[in-house]
Symmetry: D2
Subunit: 286 residues, 4 copies
C-alpha cells in the first residue's frame, strides 16, 4: 500500500536517490519486501525544491519502473529536498490527482497506509475541511482529504499539532461509524526546510518506517560507499523500507512517534492523536 | 466546451455513428463549428447498451481523434442506444473520472456547458447530494455533481422533475453566491429505454442542440442516403451540432425545453428549473 | 516475461475469462506464479472475434489490474474466440504498438518469451520481412517482427510451416551473431476459426504452457463448477499458467510441440524450426 | 503538422518560453495560425541542457495544452538551450517514441513537415541507416528515420553536410518511387552549443520559419518588454510561427536555407540537398 522516500541534505540528483541504490524505491515499485503489497504500480510522484517559489511536482499514473520520463527527469534534476512516492491503489481511481506527494503552496505531503472504510467517513471528514480549501481537492484519495484536514488545523504553523488534530478527528469520526481501526499511516510533510515524518496506526501496528544513521557515523562504518563522501554531515533519508543493505545504516522510527529532520539537531518525539475540540474548520472563521 | 451525441433506434455500429458521417463527432473533436471551443481534445467517453445489466462505458483522457482503441471498439460494438461525448475541459483535471457519460446503475448522463464559478458553489452543491450517493463521486467535474444532484432528487423516477430540481438548486445556490449566470447546459440522460435531452441556461442563451427529423420523412427527402434504409422508423439522433449537412434533417431544440425520445411518439416540452423546497438530500432520510 | 490466454468455444463474456477464475490472468498481472517475472504490468491487450470482418483489439499501456476500461469492456463483450495478453517488457518501450495480440487482417498473434539479444539481430530479421509487409510494423517489439516473419513465410496458408520457418530463421540469424539461445517462446495464433499454440526454445527449456482437459471429462470431475455446464463440449483454454486450481483440469503442452484447437478433433504435434532455404522474402517476388 | 521552438541564450525558465508569451507555443497547440493544421494535439516534447552529460528530454502523448506535468516542470527548469515541439500526427502512432525532439548522445533533433508517402520509402531509407544506429530507432515516425540518416552521414561532425546528405537521399529515393514531392521540412538540431535550423521542401514552398531580431535592436524598439532586459545580447529564438506580435521582432528564414545560432556572429546560408555517393552507411565500415 505504497512506499515512500524523503531526502534532506546536500543537493543530489534524483536519479541517485531513486535508481542507484540496491533495492531502490524503483525496485520496490516491482518488488517491495516490507510492504503490505509487493507491487506498487498504480502511479507515482516526485516533489522537489529548486527554482520557483513552490516545489516542483511530477506525478504520473504509469508504474514508476517503466516510466522513461521519470528516469530522464531524475537524471537532470538536482535538489536538496526530495519526496518520492510509489502507489498501490486500494480502490480509488488511478489518476494523477490521486498521486502523492500532494502540494499546497510550499508544502508537500505524502502517505503510506489508509483511512479505514473511507467511503463511510469521507463525507464527514470532507465537511471538516475549511471551505476555503475545499475547492482545491481534485481527486478521490483518502490522503488528499487527510492533507486538507491537516491544513485546516494549522499545518503551516505547527505541523505536529495539525497532524495530531487531523488524525484525532479521523479516529473520532471512524469510531462514530463503528470502524475498528480508523487509520493506518506513515506520513511525511515538509515546508522545504524541515521534514516531519509520522508513524501511527489505530491498532498500534503501523507500517514500517526507517531513518538513516547520521552521515559521519556511516562514513566511518562504510568508507567504501562513495556517495557518503559527497553529501553533507546533515544529510538524512527517511524511507518506508531500507534502500541499501548497509549494516548500521537504518533505524526504525518507533511506533506512535514522529521525527523532525531540520537544520541543526534532528528530533524524535511521541505522537498522540488529539481531535480538535471544534471539529469544524477553524480557518473558515477568520 | 464539449460536444455530444445521443442515438436511439435500430442497432448500429458505433463506428457508423461516430466516424462515418461528414462532420462527424470525431471531426468535431478537432474542428467544432458551433461549439464555444473549436477543439474538444480533453478526453472523451462512449456509453452503450448491450450485454450486461448496466450500460458499457469506455472513457479516455486522450483526444478522440487519435485514439485507436476508440476506432477499433467502435467498429466492433453495435447497440440500439449510444451516448458519446468529447470534452473541452475548462479548469478541472483531465482524468477519466471527469469524462462523460457518467453512469449510475442503468443510467447514463452527459452535459455540454458548465456550472458558473463552480469553485464557489461546489461545496454547497455537494452537501445537497444524498450521503449514500456521496462516495460514488470520484472526480472533480461540475457535471458529476449535477448528475448526483439529479439522482438525489429522483432521476430514476421522474427525470424531468429531478433535472428541474437539480438545476433549480444550482440557480438558487449560484445566486446566493452572487453569480450572474449559474448554469449553462445541454444535458442528455437515459435509462436504456428512453432518452431525455434538456436545453437551458440562466441567461436564456443556451448552447446549440438539434434532433433529427423522423426517418420516414428523411428517407423521402434523401433516398440516396443508405443508412436511412437500414434503420427503423423510430431511430433518432440528438446532437450538439449537426453531423451531416442534409437539408431538412435537423431541428433545433427550442430554448428552455426538453425532448423525450421513446418507444411511440416522441415529445417536446418546456423546461423550468424548480429548486426543491428542502434542498438537503431526500433519499438520506429514508 | 508476459502471460497469455487463448479461448475457443461457446461465446462467453471476456469478464468470465479474465476476471472470474481464481488466479485469473488479471491476478497473474500482479502475481504470476510460473512466469519468469512475477509482475506483468507493462501493458496488455485483448483480441476477440464478433461484429466486423477483422477481430477487435483493445490494447493499453496501463497495467491490466487497474484498467477500468478493460474491466468494463470485458463485461460487455462476448465472443467465441478470445486472445488476452499481459506484458512484462524487457527493454523495449511501453507503447500500444508493442502490446500483443498483434493483428493482420483476420489473424491474431501473441507471444511469451523473447528473441535473444534482439538488438543484434533485429536488422537482419527485419530485412527478411516481405517489403509489402514492412510498413505495417509500427513498434519496436521482437514479437512484432516474429509475426511479420511468419506472415512473410505463409502464416495465412500453413501456420505450422510458417512459424517453423520464422523460428528457423531466428535460430539461424542468432547463431550467426554468436547468440547461444536465440529464441524462447510460447506463441498463439488464430484466423478466427482455429487456434495454433506453439511451445519451443533454443535451449529446450521453454516457458510453461497448458491446455484444458476436454469439457465432458471436466464436467464429470467437477460437477460443481457452473461455467462447465454452460459451455460447449469443444470449448478449450490454452494458458501460460493454470487459471483455476482444478485437479485434472490442466495438461502441459510438451516441449517442442504445438497444438491445434479446431472444430472437430484437436491435435498435438512435434515442432521443429526449419529455416527457409531462401531467407529473403518470398512474397516480395510475386 | 507540428510547430516548434528553439531557444539559445541566457538561462531562462522553460515556462517563460512556452507559456508566458502571447500566442505562445502552448496556445499554438490549440490554435496555430500558420500551421498546415490548426490543432497540434498529438503529443509534445521538450529538450534542454543542464545537469547531466546529455540533454534532458520530456515527451508525452497528451496534448501540450492540458498537461499539468509540462506546466509544472516548465516552471522548475531553467536552461540556456531549449527545444520544444508540439505534434500533429499524420498517420503514425501517437506514442512517446514518435515525439520530438529525438536525442542521440548530446544531440537533439526536431522537425515540422513530413517525408512524402513515407510508407513507400521507409524500408529503403531505413536500410541506409548505419547498422550500429539501427537498434536505437524505436518508433515509426519519419523524423526518427531522417535523424538517423543525418547521424549516419556525419551529423556530429558537419551538421549542414549531414542534413544535406540525408535530405538528398530522401529526394533520390522518393523520386525513384515516383513521389512528386519527397520532403517538406523545417528542422532544428543542436549539440548543446550551436543550433542549426533548416528550411526546405521539394516543392520549394516550405513550412514557415522565423528567427528573432537581435536583442539590442529589440530592446531599443520595445523598451517595455521586460524579458528583453533580462536576457543576454546573444539570445535568440527560432520558431515555426511568431510567438509575440512585436513589430520588428521576427524575420523569415528564406526558402532553401539554414541558419546557425552560435557563440559569436550567427549565420545564414543557402541549403542544397546532396545525396551521398554511396548511400549505404559510412559509419558501418569503421
Amino acid at each position: 500500500m505504497c512506499r515512500w522516500l524523503a531526502y534532506s541534505g546536500s543537493p543530489v540528483s534524483i536519479e541517485d536517490l531513486l535508481y542507484r541504490p540496491q533495492h531502490s524505491l524503483i525496485d520496490q515499485s516491482l518488488h517491495s519486501k516490507l510492504g503490505a503489497e509487493t507491487t506498487n504500480g498504480d502511479g507515482f510522484g516526485v516533489g522537489w525544491y529548486g527554482a520557483g517559489d513552490t516545489p516542483g511536482v511530477y506525478r504520473s499514473i504509469e508504474p514508476a519502473w517503466n516510466d522513461r520520463n521519470l528516469r530522464d527527469l531524475s537524471a537532470h534534476i538536482q535538489s536538496p529536498l526530495v519526496f518520492a512516492h510509489i502507489r498501490a491503489a486500494i480502490g480509488s481511481a488511478v489518476q494523477e490527482t490521486n498521486c502523492h506527494p500532494f502540494r499546497h503552496g510550499r508544502w508537500l505531503f505524502m502517505h503510506n497506509g489508509f483511512i479505514g472504510d473511507f467511503h463511510k467517513v469521507k463525507r464527514d471528514l470532507v465537511l471538516a475541511v475549511d471551505p476555503s480549501l475545499y475547492p482545491s481537492m481534485e481527486g478521490s484519495a483518502d490522503t488528499e482529504v487527510m492533507f486538507h484536514l491537516a491544513l485546516t488545523f494549522g499545518l503551516e504553523d505547527d505541523p505536529p499539532a495539525a497532524v495530531s488534530a487531523a488524525v484525532g478527528l479521523i479516529e473520532e469520526v471512524g469510531k462514530k461509524h463503528g470502524i475498528e481501526h480508523p487509520i493506518q499511516m506513515t506520513v511525511a510533510t515538509t515546508d522545504g526546510e524541515t521534514v516531519w515524518a509520522f508513524r501511527y496506526s489505530s491498532e498500534r501496528n503501523s507500517r514500517s518506517l526507517f531513518y538513516s544513521t547520521d552521515v559521519p557515523t556511516l562514513r566511518a562504518l562504510h568508507p567504501e560507499v562513495e556517495i557518503l563522501s559527497e553529501v553533507s554531515d546533515e544529510s538524512r533519508l527517511i524511507v518506508s523500507e531500507p534502500v541499501r543493505d548497509l549494516p548500521g545504516a537504518w533505524n526504525e522510527v518507533p511506533e506512535s512517534s514522529y521525527g523532525v529532520v531540520q537544520p541543526g539537531q534532528d528530533e524524535l518525539h511521541p505522537f498522540t492523536p488529539r481531535a480538535p475540540e471544534k471539529p469544524t474548520a477553524v480557518r473558515a472563521e477568520v
